[in-house]
């Protein structure tokens, strides 16, 4: 690696000498660097030659350059957040100058540099809505992943509990209906293509969340959902080399399997017996497909056929009554999860060369015995500068090795099945087919068809191994004063290998082999599927090249005018190839597998009349994403008070089947900033800093699932004729396809009171989603049920308030400050192709977007309740103004406008209050979060499910049982026959809608600091010993329902972490 870099150095050196010789001989060059106390360069510092109009600002490296005739001068050096300097110099200067600026504590908070991923921008010159999460805040939480570090500390950003898993977070609400809803993640200048799990939070220096159009149009067509810019740690620069060690261990409780209120086992057993008596199970008992019946039902049949006595039946019943599968699983399959994290960081350097080395190791034992995962991260970043600081070069290499072992799968079992007997011997459980059938074949020589879950704990050989490599390179040259040319390049590669080699010691393999076994008339066996392991392999290879070429110009003229111009183009090529294959009869020791007949339809052992081919799982896929983008960005500041910004970008991509002129979308934004507190008329001591800012513009979103042309997806094997390939139409032709566009306006002010007692930002925004993709339901006679097109328009209003109170700031003993944020989102559908159906609207709280004009994207609807019928306990609705039990008519005569609309299914107000205390060496941080203004549907009994022989909700025991109960319960009576419509009605009745509003004590962090300056005997500079408790619990909720409004089935377990961070 050394050689090419030194070659480039030589080339550039020659270049510099050439240009230096063209300098004006009368003037002398003055080069200097402005650094802070830690040796970090400060960009954007204003340098003014006293008594002249001559001035400049420092660049990203904190370097400034002036050309002055010989003589004595005074330089006024100023930057918001720092104390002003006045420096006397004598020109010519022989050595590069270096000045240290002291932070001005009173204005500390206003010194923040945002990284937009393209440029670093001091806060006072930004017009956009950016939130920066600094290193301290990132390190506040303890977790393996980076994303959770943003939770409850980022105004406008919420972790979704309702909606698709592909949308874990939203920034300022959802901006699209059916396209990609994830924010764009930028790591070190480029969008990151790998899984976020590969990022070690210990390597991250800061995160900037870009929320409005100002930043979004910088990132263009993929930025409609907001942008998260992650910057990893850089070399420390001047000063001593730093070594930091951070290590912690997290203990997490076993999951609370009893959290979801399930009906009592004995109630369920009674129900099974009743169903048995009505003959409900008869059809399945006799079915040729040998379906599984529960152990109690089997026992009842055995008893009815005289195979077991009444006494034996009673004994079994007693055993069932005293068994609970959740207890069985907790005792045998679960443990406390343990997560260990180690990270070592070494950084240092001098003026011209800085370096950073990091190593991290994470090892997590999951709460299921036998399952664990680990991650190793290694990285280095080097940056060099030429002596005259005109040329700079940096290069980073990041390696990640991640592995996941899934040695155990949780068994699916009946609620009262046991995993072991009284003395702890493992027991088989019912699985797939009735044991009557399995036992009838016990003597024919099949593989053992019993499933003993305990024996399989940790026995599966199933692993994921992932290697992720990221290499980046940046070279920059200052062509002339303030005029820079930069190139950036990133290569990324990810190799994923997901393998599971499941031998015949595991039930699932034996089951599949048995299923295809044929018994010949002479009693011999024919096994189309050979005995041996089933080896599944997924191999994924991805890589991307990203290249950016950028010119920037930064000039301060006449002292009061400052111009920043940035323009460039970008290329990106991302390719992924995935191969999935399966080998049967695999022997890992010999490394051989067996050829298989995938073509013949073999009779299945359970029912020879139903034939099937041996599962053929091989798949191959390849994806290519390419982007070509042009962008430009301009900022102008006058007197450090007035700022105008504008940006524009055009993205083109290889969207399939789109005409060349439709591939791209032009996006733009403009912004204004005004530091009001600099104006004479405003100046006051009470509010020393006050700034107004505003942006307006467009960002975009794409949906790679749609195409203007007819597209079809090929599949290799037709079920009917396995040797024949076929294609399914995935996209009917749509010649009117366009990109989605999101228009955003942000108006905000930032302020700071005297002595920083109170500071904050108030951002108000308005978003309008245009040409959004909507899947409209069309008449089925068209041949499709849904059709995608640019049919929708949405609107979102909201605000993000961010306040910081410094209650007590006696810098010696006791500190208390509070960070508070409050975000509000009010979204609605403005336009949509067609009306949704009643049933789909009622189901929309499941996280499926069912658009109704005027209402939020995720809404909760219900049918008006008429209470329970006093005579029968049946749920009643309202039909023509009267209580009614004609569910079919109630549902069919309810019009969309008659539905009860409760409100949003996602919080419309949310935020967090974080109190930080410091007393001496102790510090304590307590974060409470809140979510308000939303609704959810309480879980309750589904009789249809129960009467089909499945255990259900514990509301069963609170049901209506006799007249009069309707006064004390809303849970309907047990129906006499299956009535799915009644359940549909009851599911949707208004009684079941609850307010989701709640306050939650999310976490507490306690730390103790040791410092060499206070304790000189310490072998290190600084150490922090910390503990972190997460998922503590609810403080208040609006609903009486037992469950946490945000967690209706499972609740995240509490955890506690202990750790230490040492700076050597």
């Amino acid at each position: 690696m050394k050689k090419p870099i030194s070659l480039i150095f030589l080339l550039i050196l020659k270049f510099m000498i050439d240009s230096a010789s063209a300098q004006d001989v009368r003037n002398h060059q003055v080069v200097g660097t402005i650094i802070d106390r830690n040796g970090e360069p400060i960009p954007g510092v204003s340098i003014l030659v006293k008594g002249t109009q001559n001035g400049t600002v420092t660049n990203i490296e904190g370097v400034f350059l002036l050309n002055l005739p010989s003589g004595n001068y005074t330089l006024d050096v100023s930057f918001i957040g720092f104390k002003k300097l006045a420096i006397d110099i004598q020109v010519p200067v022989n050595t590069p100058l270096e000045f240290t600026m002291e932070k001005d504590d009173l204005e500390l908070s206003t010194f923040e540099v945002f990284s937009t991923g393209y440029q670093e921008l001091p806060k006072e010159r930004s017009t956009g809505s950016f939130i920066q999460i600094n290193n301290e805040l990132i390190d506040r939480r303890v977790s393996t992943d980076i994303l959770s570090r943003l939770e409850d500390v980022t105004p406008g950003l919420i972790f979704n509990r309702v909606g698709a898993a592909s949308e874990p977070i939203s920034i300022r609400g959802r901006s699209t209906l059916f396209s990609n809803a994830s924010p764009l993640i930028i790591i070190d200048n480029f969008p990151y293509d790998g899984p976020l799990d590969n990022i070690n939070p210990n390597d991250v220096e800061s995160i900037t969340v870009l929320k409005d159009a100002a930043a979004a149009s910088i990132w263009g067509a993929r930025a409609g959902n907001g942008v998260i810019v992650i910057t990893t740690k850089k070399g420390a620069g001047l000063g001593k080399d730093r070594v930091t060690l951070n290590t912690n261990v997290t203990l997490e409780e076993k999951p609370d399997l009893f959290y979801f209120p399930r009906m009592e086992i004995w109630d369920f057993l009674d129900m099974e017996r009743n169903l048995f008596q009505t003959g409900f199970f008869n059809a399945n008992y006799q079915s040729v497909n040998r379906p599984l019946l529960s152990p109690y039902v089997e026992a009842l049949f055995a008893n009815a056929e005289g195979r077991i006595s009444d006494q034996e039946l009673e004994q079994k019943l007693q055993l069932f009554r005293n068994t609970d599968d959740r207890r069985e699983l907790l005792d045998n399959f679960y443990r406390n999860a343990i997560r260990q994290q180690y990270s070592l960081n070494y950084s240092g350097g001098d003026n011209l060369h800085q370096y950073n080395y990091s190593a991290g190791w994470d090892r997590n034992l999951s709460n299921v015995i036998g399952n664990d995962n680990s991650r190793i991260t290694l990285s280095t970043l080097q940056s060099w500068k030429s002596k005259n600081k005109k040329f700079n070069l940096s290069s980073g290499l990041y390696l990640v090795n991640r592995s996941v072992d899934t040695g155990t799968l949780l068994p699916e079992m009946f609620p009262y099945e046991r995993l072991s007997d009284e003395v702890g011997n493992p027991l088989p459980i019912f699985q797939n087919y009735t044991p009557r059938f399995k036992n009838s074949l016990a003597k024919v020589g099949l593989l053992n068809w019993e499933f003993v879950p305990i024996e399989e704990i940790g026995r599966r050989d199933a692993t994921v191994r992932e290697t992720d490599i990221r290499f980046n390179f940046n070279a920059g040259y200052e062509l002339t004063k303030g005029f820079r040319w930069d190139i950036y390049y990133q290569y990324w590669q990810n190799d994923l290998r997901n393998e599971s080699n499941i031998g015949t010691d595991i039930y699932s393999t034996r089951n599949l082999i048995n299923l295809f076994t044929q018994i010949n008339p002479d009693g011999t066996l024919f096994r189309p599927l050979p005995i041996g392991a089933i080896f599944d392999q997924t191999i994924g290879k991805s890589f991307s090249h990203s290249f950016r070429n950028q010119l920037s110009y930064n000039k301060q003229f006449f002292g009061e005018h400052e111009l920043t111009v940035l323009a460039g183009f970008e290329l990106k090529d991302l390719q992924t190839v995935t191969d999935i294959r399966r080998f049967y009869g695999y022997d890992d020791e010999l490394g051989i597998s067996t050829p298989i007949d995938y073509i013949t339809l073999f009779p299945r052992l359970i029912n020879p009349a139903s034939r099937g081919a041996i599962p053929f799982n091989d798949q191959h896929s390849g994806i290519i994403n390419r982007f070509v983008s042009l962008y430009g960005n301009i900022g102008y500041t006058y007197k450090g008070r007035y700022t105008i910004t504008a940006s524009a970008r055009k993205d083109q991509s290889n969207l399939f089947g789109v005409d060349a002129n439709m591939r791209g979308v032009p996006l733009w934004s403009v912004g204004l900033g005004w530091v009001l507190s600099e104006e004479e008329f405003f100046k006051n001591d009470l509010i020393p800093f006050f700034k107004l800012r505003m942006t307006h513009g467009y960002s975009g979103n794409i949906n790679q699932n749609v195409s203007a042309l007819t597209t079809a997806r090929l599949s290799p094997s037709l079920p009917l004729i396995p040797s024949l390939r076929f294609a399914t139409i995935t996209n009917p032709p749509n010649p009117e396809l366009r990109w989605e566009k999101i228009q955003m306006t942000n108006v905000a002010f930032d302020f700071e009171s005297k002595n920083r007692f109170l500071s904050g930002e108030f951002d108000f925004f308005h978003k309008r989603g245009q040409d959004l993709f909507g899947a409209i339901q069309v008449q089925p006679s068209t041949g499709v049920e849904r059709f995608n097109g640019n049919f929708a328009e949405t609107e979102t209003f909201g605000f993000d308030f961010n306040l910081n109170f410094n209650w007590i700031n006696s810098s010696k003993k006791f500190n208390w400050n509070t960070d508070l944020f409050w975000s509000h989102i009010n979204d609605k559908i403005l336009d949509y192709g067609v009306d949704a159906t009643i049933i789909s609207l009622l189901n929309s709280d499941n996280g499926i977007i069912v658009p109704k004009i005027g209402n939020p994207l995720f809404s909760v609807y219900s049918l008006q309740s008429g209470g329970l019928d006093p005579n029968t306990g049946m749920p009643r609705g309202i039909l023509e103004g009267q209580p009614s039990m004609e569910y079919s008519r109630i549902i069919s005569t309810t019009s969309i406008d008659d539905l009860v609309f409760h409100g949003s299914a996602r919080p419309t107000h949310f935020g967090a209050i974080r109190n930080n205390f410091r007393y001496g060496s102790f510090s304590l941080s307590v974060n409470a979060s809140y979510r308000l203004g939303y609704f959810f549907r309480r879980s309750s009994i589904n009789y249809n499910n129960l009467l089909r022989g499945n255990i259900d909700h514990s509301d069963f025991s609170h049901r209506w049982q006799r007249p009069g109960d309707e006064l004390i319960t809303t849970i309907p009576a047990l129906p006499t026959t299956l009535n799915p419509l009644r359940d549909t009605f009851y599911r949707n009745v208004s009684d079941r809608i609850e307010r989701g509003d709640h306050f939650r004590l999310q976490d507490i962090r306690l730390a103790y600091n040791l410092q060499k300056s206070k304790l000189p005997s310490l072998p290190f500079q600084r150490a922090e010993i910390y503990s972190y408790i997460n998922n503590i619990g609810l403080l208040w909720k609006a609903t009486d329902d037992r469950l946490d409004p945000d967690f209706q089935t499972m609740i995240p377990p509490r955890s506690i972490a202990f750790g230490v961070k040492i700076d050597f």
Partner: protein, 438 residues
């Protein structure tokens, strides 16, 4: 480096961009821009080779228990019980959606075929014929459920219309056609299929000329155009690839004695897969069972008596549990016999029916039919027995009910109460599902 060099570099890179951006985003996505890809689309048998179930649910081949009806979709249960408004507001009625999807796929294939240039014309013509065949097949099936019976003899009800489409563009409106107009469109498509299809196809899931004739025989037969159904049935017999199975050669002990793609199958097609059809509680209607005489091998081959006494149908021509509704030679012989008799060709009728029966009875019990006044009745009865648990019964009921001689009232018992379906009842035309009208 001066500015012009820099801009030159940009210009070169941008010029290369178009090619750079032409890359296909995903390997497995294709535009059907070749004959092979269009074949692949038409090969998707799960969507293309389908028959409808509701006619079977509403006819008299099987009965089931009250308990089993609980496992039916509400609308399937309503159809079984001959209710007037079987479909609720949001019911997704497979019997409506699936044939329209089949037709849509054919329409997509056809419109893509029209765009292709410089391709093998024989193959292209065959595929044009295939798309027309599927349109005819799909619309015929739809017409049998959702339009009143159409007869060329003129007695038909034109008050009901359903959508007819030949375009794949979703946003284009459909043409609404009544029973008569639908018949004309089906036969127009059949003409295109007959004109373009090759005489053979590689797989039995793909239509060929014989299949087109067999379908034409079925369509004209249903419309009581017995002359044309006779002609087309005759044409099918010219294809020697298809042979009647001699049931004497089959083994009644097999789970299903009939093989998939056997020598009688001309065009393979299956009832929409639905769990209710596979239940052991689909009991053979005792009335049907009583029609089979001793020595009739169809009885032992078609039906199986379970240990608990339930008698189920098990001899689907799919070779599996899925019911067969496609085109097979036995249907052609039965259609030929009835059409010939109705058009005064008694000798040919006898020849066809006796040849068919000789393959269905044991040699000892086989007694050939002779010309007599009840021959038509006998042929119709053999059709009833031969095509049990196939897709024809509902259409046959609708057609035969027009003739007072063959009218039949159907009966069922539900919750202890007997219900009936009278001949020519409006129930014989299902309403259009509300989701379509919504």
């Amino acid at each position: 480096m001066n500015k012009s060099t820099y801009f030159l570099i940009i210009a070169v890179i941008l010029a290369a961009c178009d090619e750079f951006l032409d890359a296909k985003p995903s390997k497995d996505i294709v535009t059907p821009n070749s004959l092979e890809f269009i074949e692949d689309i038409l090969n998707f048998s799960t969507r293309m080779n389908i028959d409808l179930t509701l006619g079977y649910v509403a006819s008299d081949d099987y009965i089931t228990t009250d308990q089993a009806l609980n496992n039916y979709q509400p609308w399937q249960k309503s159809v079984y019980l001959w209710e007037e408004e079987p479909f609720q507001l949001n019911d997704v009625v497979f019997d409506w959606n699936s044939p329209y999807n089949q037709i849509f796929t054919a329409n997509v294939a056809e419109s893509e075929l029209e765009k292709l240039i410089n391709v093998d014309d024989t193959k292209r013509r065959h595929l044009i014929g295939t798309t027309a065949f599927y349109r005819a097949y799909g619309f015929y099936n739809l017409s049998q459920l959702f339009l009143p019976h159409y007869s060329i003899n003129g007695e038909f009800d034109n008050s009901i219309s359903i959508p007819y489409r030949e375009t794949p563009v979703i946003t284009q409106p459909s043409e609404m056609v009544n029973a008569e107009e639908m018949f004309l469109r089906i036969t127009r498509n059949l003409d295109i299929a007959l004109e373009n299809l090759n005489s053979s196809s590689t797989h039995k899931i793909n239509p060929n000329l014989a299949a087109a004739h067999a379908l034409a025989a079925r369509v004209y037969f249903t419309a009581e155009d017995y002359e044309k159904s006779y002609q087309h049935a005759r044409r099918v017999l010219e294809f020697s690839t298809y042979q009647l199975i001699d049931y004497n050669q089959l083994s009644p002990s097999a789970a299903n004695p009939i093989e998939q793609f056997n020598s009688e199958v001309i065009f393979h097609s299956e009832f929409l897969a639905q769990a209710i059809l596979y239940s052991q509680l689909v009991l053979v209607n005792p009335e049907l069972l009583s029609l089979y005489k001793d020595g009739d091998l169809r009885k032992s081959i078609y039906f199986i008596t379970r240990p608990n006494g339930n008698i189920n149908f098990r001899a689907s021509y799919t070779g599996r549990v899925n019911l067969f509704g496609g085109l097979a030679l036995d249907e052609v012989y039965l259609t030929l016999a009835e059409s010939a008799q109705r058009t005064g060709r008694t000798n040919e009728a006898l020849e066809a029916i006796n040849f068919y029966l000789s393959k269905r009875y044991t040699p000892e019990t086989f007694v050939p039919f002779r010309p007599d006044s009840s021959l038509l009745e006998k042929i119709i009865l053999e059709r009833r027995k031969g095509l049990a648990f196939r897709a024809n019964r509902w259409s046959d009921l609708r057609r035969l009910n027009r003739d007072p001689r063959f009218q039949k009232t159907l009966f069922r018992t539900y919750q202890g109460v007997q219900i009936s379906l009278l001949p020519n009842s409006p129930i014989y035309t299902l309403p259009v599902p509300p989701l379509e009208l919504n």
